[in-house]
Amino acid sequence: MLKTFPKGGVHPPENKLTSAKSIKRMAVPKVVYVPISQHIGIPAEIIVNVKDAVEIGQVIAKSGGFVSSNIHSPVAGTVTKLDLIIDTSGYKKQCIVIRTDVKNEANFQEIEYPLVKDIILEPKAILQKINDYGIVGLGGATFPAHVKLNVKEGTVLDHLIINGVECEPYLTADHRLMLEKAEEIMVGVEILMHALNINKAIIGIENNKKDAIDIFKKLTQNNQKIKVAALQVKYPQGGEKQLVRALLNREVPKNGLPLDVGVIVHNVGTIFAIYQAIQHNVPLTERVVTVTGKKLENPANYWVKIGTPITDLVNEVGGLPEGTRKIVNGGPMMGKAIKNTDVPVTKGTSGILVIADDEASRGEPKNCIRCSECVFVCPMGLEPHLLMNLSEKGLYERASAEDIMTCIECGSCSYVCPSHRPLLDYIRFGKQIVKKLNTAKN
């Protein structure tokens, strides 16, 4: 029996159309749009002016606080505008617009970084560098990595977990990265273990990526410290709490963090970014993006500069097909629908999913038939039907008492509801109000 988390979860059709396609490099765009808020927390502060010339990797916006992150220029060029543009959230956000200098060869050089295995830096220096180089969680939550790694002295920490689950249907960015940069990821794991003084690491990979499991099995064959674990395919196993439960049989306490049970979890993409930063002094200015959809001519995986308009990506795979009704930034379960493709790729963009007419609309909501499916699939042990009702009726105190704030918004409830009820929509709404009420109380 493969490991998995015991409570809840769903298994939507995997649709991993691009898992056999190696990562290609996207052409450097003529203009990049770099939002200053690509991470959870305080937006970065812009430190360049219009008409400034910038180099690749130069800091253009400085971390605005502890839970914040530096932002580096993805290209060499000139700052043309500091403007409000609509980002993937659908809201207008401050953004640095840089025109790529087409004469500057640095923009078009494809650097082959050799594998560097020796770790020279001291733990403190490593953590500082992760902070300086703008590394955030690349699994989708974009939580600044240095915050997660800032472990208070005296905390008992015994496991590093590497999240190679990629449980979202369609997405293959992490899968391809694991296949193509396995050795670098192994070094990245060792860097973090060294920095945190942890002796054990587990790489968790779902069993629909057997090739990736095999590669890491080979690489960890004689390794006493780093292990690979194949996991049963089940959504949302990539959720930190579910993954820790699946791999170590430890349950993160309600409102707690994996740290509370001695674990730190990082996504494989983040690990690779850390490797690049520590061993090659490369800040986070590009990432792997899966561009996919059933009707696309040629869905594929790309290395993309942060700030590249999504339009460029869509054009690269043959343009939006006839009958496109939805464009999603991310996977189908947790991704955000965007209105058009004039939106830049940010640190959190793991995929672009194009959905056609027949699958884009939601079913018409009907009466709840109290079938309990939402209760059975909720990985957090909540009662989504109840939380929706309480939010709808404005009974926020009760919703709070029913643990609405522990919802991880995985969407399993809305996915299974046979009456097409917008469960998660109302739960999200309820969470927002409860959060406001809680802040007001404090």
């Binding site: 955000k336 699958e359 009466n367 109290r370």
Partner: protein
């Protein structure tokens, strides 16, 4: 770009292919074997009663929604159809047609629509219809056509009591089980359904087949049917073990009356059963206990319908007190400052 606008809605952007309608029709499919057995045993009358119940349930739902409530008509969702079939299954096949229609009106009009329609009713509509008829027309509701199988022909000429009725009556008149047993149908007859009783409740085998289909299709989970039957076996088993001359065996109890129909199809009604697995077990134990108490000590020979309706009333309470275990609950959280 297409002419139609791009949709911007919140995640998730995919949906499983399960719909309420499919669930309802799955239950209808699961009831087909028992229906066929019923038509085979009772002949055209079973077909007529079922058809009338279905037609009147659909018509009452249509009429009330369209002309009285002036709301959207939902007769295509499969739930009124299901209520019709289940109501018919709980009636004797020789019941006067007008009573079938009255039962349908009570089931749809009072038990379902007056509570707010699909999903809002507290009590199982088909059972409310049946119990209304039982208390209003006790004579007609307890005159069962008895199926007699002689060689190849199935004849339904005789009306008489069900096995449970025979036992109850016999025991009341001071007979022992040894004296009563020759009157009872054999276990095989009960399994295949060649016995007296409501239209759809007699064939244990056909109902089990349907029940297995529902389990396979994940429309129901094992918790309710297995717990109901297990509770009945344990309770009747204890009495039978102590005094087999005055209490029928657990096997007779399980195979007769509405035990299997109730356990697999009536108690598992999604709307009127609890929403957690713990709750379902509590609910099912309640049904088992109340059924046995009514059968052994009550005035009626059969108690499944009453037991389910009584436990239906407890469902909101059960849902409040038997919640799923929250992830990470009761683990002391150390506050880690960032």
């Amino acid at each position: 770009m297409s002419e139609q606008p791009i949709i911007v809605s919140a995640s998730p952007h995919v949906h499983s292919d399960r719909t309420s309608k499919k669930i309802m029709y799955d239950v209808v499919i699961a009831l087909i074997p028992a229906f066929l057995v019923s038509v085979y045993v009772f002949g055209a009358s079973a077909f007529i009663v079922t058809s009338v119940a279905i037609a009147s349930c659909l018509l009452f739902e249509y009429g009330i929604q369209k002309y009285l409530f002036k709301t959207a008509v939902t007769i295509t969702d499969g739930s009124a159809l299901l209520t019709g079939i289940l109501l018919a299954f709980n009636l004797p096949s020789n019941l006067p047609i007008w009573m079938v229609i009255v039962g349908s009106l009570v089931a749809i009009g009072i038990a379902k629509l007056s509570f707010g329609g699909l999903g809002f009713n507290i009590f199982n509509p088909a059972l409310v219809g049946r119990v209304f008829l039982l208390v209003s027309f006790p004579v007609q509701m307890t005159m069962w056509p008895t199926a007699i199988v002689n060689n190849t022909n199935v004849v339904d000429a005789v009306t008489g009591a069900t096995s449970l009725g025979l036992i109850k009556e016999g025991l009341l008149f001071g007979k022992t089980m040894t004296e009563i047993s020759p009157q009872l149908p054999s276990t095989t007859q009960m399994l295949f359904g060649f016995t007296g009783g409501s239209l759809g409740e007699m064939s244990a085998l056909a109902l089990l087949l349907g029940g297995l289909y529902l389990l396979y299709r994940k429309v129901i989970s094992w918790h309710i049917p297995v717990t109901v039957l297990a509770t009945m076996v344990v309770m009747t088993g204890i009495f039978w073990f102590i005094d087999p001359e005055h209490y029928a065996s657990p096997l007779i109890h399980i195979l007769s009356g509405g035990a299997i129909l109730g356990a697999f199809f009536m108690a598992t009604d999604l709307v009127t059963s609890p929403m957690t697995k713990k709750g379902m077990v509590i609910f099912a134990i309640g049904i088992g206990v109340i059924t046995v108490v009514i059968r052994l000590f009550g005035a009626y020979p059969e108690g499944v319908s009453f037991a389910i309706l009584i436990m239906n009333a407890f469902v909101p309470l059960i849902n409040t007190y038997f919640k799923p275990r929250r992830f990470g609950a009761k683990i002391k959280a150390k506050i880690v400052s960032l």
